[in-house]
Each structure stands twice: as structure tokens, then as C-alpha cells.
Amino acid sequence: MLFLIAPAGIVLACFEIIPILIGMNASFRDWSLVNPQRTWVGLKQYVAVFTDPVFLKIVLPNTFLLMVASVGVSLALGLALASLLNRSFLGRAVVRTIILLPLTIAPVITATMMRWSFNDQFGVITTFLSYVGAPDIAWLSDRWPSFALVIMTDIWIWTPWFTIILLAALQGLPPEPFEAARIDAATPWCIFRRLTLPMLRPVIIVCVLIRAIDAFRTFDQVWILTGGGPARSTEVFSVYTYVLAFVDLDIGRGAAAAGVGAIIMLFVGGVLYKLVNRSVEVSR
């Protein structure tokens, strides 16, 4: 049956495994627009990436902040929405369809939408905020407001995903423990904390795992919303690598940065995988 796996294997080898090997090779070379010789320089590029203050002080904190904030908040919101939608009410199907919208729209479009809505002078939301009397915030020209906007966009995109999955998990839970709890006159909050959450735990962990890995490679939203600016202050890992390789045209350094990211992610992914396996076993 080896030949049946072959087509997929060949595509994977040619367009993932070989590129990664080539990238590793490139990361040991001084290969840029000003030096097309591709001389072998050993670990120099990695050292350069690891001693780059932009990478250490801005890119890494931003990437992990985005990961934690986006996954955390969208999990919380998704959980809240899922428990809200778990009851039956008129128009539930409509609300559920609408919740799907952000997931099916390209992040590029979402980011454009947000950029326009938060435009400093004409944006609907900025205008609305000043109308209500909120202090003026330069959404796209300061570090933290623009980064907050990036995180909000990410949350807007990913909350539905959590909602849909958690809703399915909620509807799959057995009704008996809840009935028993209601007979014992437990408060809704108590039921949620002591029953719903522990029973949803495996699903939540898997969701967080998948999303955390994906959040690390966020690119579209950041690139369209801020382009990494103002003054490189909202760059995340993917944007940093992209800028090195395709704007500064320093392929060697870009490949080294990409390699660093891959290593970090393999490590984080491995730890998360272990964690998931263990806690899912425990909850069984």
C-alpha cells in the first residue's frame, strides 16, 4: 500500500521537506542583495538574530503577548457565547450563522475593515468613540493602541471558532449530571464551574493547543493593519522574518530568523502536545 501514500508523500517532500532543508542551508550563509556570493558563515546569522534588540525586545514579547492575549480572550468569549447559544431561543440559527461570518472572511479583508473603522480621522469607530466622549486615541500611530488593535482583530476573527467548537461540545455533554445538580439546587455559576468546565476540559485544551500554534504564525492581520509599524513596534515573528527576507532582501538572515521561529515552535508545540496528552488521559 506504499504506492497509495506516495503522491501525498512526494508533494510533501518537494514542497515542505526539501524547502526546509534548503532554508537551513541558506541560514548558514551570508546571502543578501549586497552579497550574492552565498559564502558559508556558520552560526553568524543566528547570533545576529539572537543579539538583535528588535527581535529580543519587540518581536518575541509581541508574538507571545499576541498568542496569550488572543487565545485567552477568544477562549473566554467563545465559552461565554457558547453557553449563551446553548439555550434554545427564537432566531438561534440566524445568530449561529452570523457568528460564522468572521471565520469565512479573509483576514486581509478583516484587517482592512478594522483599519478603516479605526482610521484616525474618518473611522466610524473613532468617530463614535469621540462622540460618546472617550479620550482620543491615535489607534494606528502609537505602539500599544496599534498592538491592541491587532489583538482585537485576532480576537474578532477567532472567537467564532471557539464558540462553534465549544457549542458542539456543550451539546454533546450528558444531561444527567446537570439534572442532578439542579435538583441539588446548585446555582448556575456553580454548575458552570464545577460541572461544565471540567467536562469541557479536554476540548478546551485541544482548542488552545491548535490556536496557540496558529497564533504564533499570525501574519496577514499585522501586515495589513500596521505593517509592523509604527517604527517596527508591532512586528511579530512572521512579519520580522518577512521584512528581513523580502524587504531588506537579506535571505540568509531571514532564513536564520525563520529557523529560530521553527525551533521555538517545535519546542512549544512539543511541550503543549505532552501537556495535552497527559491532561486528556487524566480527564479520562
Binding site: M1, L4, P7, A8, G9, V11, L12, C14, F15, E16, P19, I20, L21, I22, G23, L84, F89, V95, T97, I98, I99, L100, L101, T104, I105, A106, P107, V108, I109, T112, M113, M114, W116, Q121, F122, V124, T127, W156, I164, I165, I213, R217, F219, D220, W223, I224, S238, T241, Y242, A245, F246, I251, G254, A255, A258, M265, L266, V268, G269, Y273
Partner: protein, 265 residues
Amino acid sequence: MIALALGSLRRAIFAISVAAIFVLFVGPIVILGVTSLRPASGVFYIWRGTNFTLNNFVEVLHQSQMLEAVWNSFVLSTLATILSLGITELSRFGGWIQRSWFATIYLFRTVPYISWVLPLYLVNTRLGIYDTYLGLLLPHIAVHVCFFSWLMKGFFDGINPSMEYAALIDGCTRWGAFCRVALPAAMPGIAALAILCWLSTWNEFLFVLILSGKRTPLITSTMAQFVTETGTEWNLMSATAVLAMMPALLVTSFGQKYVIRGLQM
């Protein structure tokens, strides 16, 4: 009396939160839609109504490579979906191969896209397929195959093998049993995957940004051109965004059931 008041209060809070969800998720899309219908001079009147026109759409469709980009994206997404499903389908067999296959796939899921799309650019230029559709299609297939092998395994495992055995006893070949029994049973799941695959190719940006050039305009790269150039023609950009959104919305509204199913896998 108090209980009644509490009940209606609770119902009011519930209704308000549902309405808030509605506004939160639809609001930005409505803003975009309204902007796309405003003439260039009317874009900045936010609260005041101006006349609405369809000129933006006309202009966008005439001006840039818009129609070409839409068509290209459509063909690319469809081809990527069909081909990667075809390949994944075949990869369901095997024992130890399968185990190492899944380990590999998990490994590759953790690697950030940028880490292999950058060397992929080098590969594509070396192979001479940079800025061609083949060069965009094959990497997409590689991504989807990774993702799908994992999920496919899930639903084929969920099918009771005794049905397949029954088919074998009744005189089907191994392949015939697969086609006639396992495949139809897995069909809803496959439909869900196909829709998700199509949407993700349609929405893909990083690959397009790096692997496509002037000869291969796609919908997301056309969008991005508006964004980076001047950033002032909001009406045209919104019109482009609305155009790019349409097929995705159509697919979602028709295949809602499958999209939800696919997300849950």
C-alpha cells in the same frame, strides 16, 4: 411578583447580549458594505447620509485585473481542493507508514508558515515555477494534505469496519468495498473538508504575497495592492473587499452545516 420581575430582567439581559453579539459580528461588515457604496467624496461623511452609487464596483471591475484575479483565485481554490482531497484519499492505507506519517504531519503543523514559505520561494525560483499557478498550487496542496490526512483518518476510523467486511464477503474487491461502503459513509465529512479547504485557499495571503507576482494576480494580492499603495481610496478598496467576500459568503451560507461540521473536526 419579584420572581416575575427577575425573570423578565433576565430575559432582557439575554436579549441584549444576543443583540450585542449581532452588532459585534455584523457591524464591521456593514461598515465595509456601506463604504463600498459611497462615492469617493462621500466616504468621509460617516453619520450623514450621502447618495449611494454602484460606481465603485464598476470602476474596480474595469480598472484593475479584478475579474482576472477573481477567476484565478476561484480556479486555484477549486483545483487545490480537488487535488488535495484526491491525494489524501489515497493516503489512508498503511501500518507503520501511517504512524510515522502522522508524526511527520504533526511536526509540520507546528512549523510556522513563514519558515518554509521563504525557502519555498527559493525552490520555486530554482524550478522556474515562481509566479506561475503551478508554483502556487503545489504548496497549497502540500499544506492541505498535511491537515486533511489527520482529519480523514478521524472519520474513516469512525466507520464501522464490519460494513466493509460484509462488502468483501459479498464479493467486492478491497478497493470496491472502499469505494462503495467507506467512501459514501465518510462523504459528509469530506464535503466539510472540501469547503474548509476551498475557503482557506481563497483567503490565503502569505503564500500569495511571497509566491505570486505580476503574472498571477489573485484576489488577496489585488486587495493588498490597494492597502499599501496610497491607502486613501477607501471606497474602491471596500468595493474590492466586498467582491472578494461574496463567494466566501455564498459558499458559507449554502454549506453552513458542513462548515460547522468541518470546524468541529
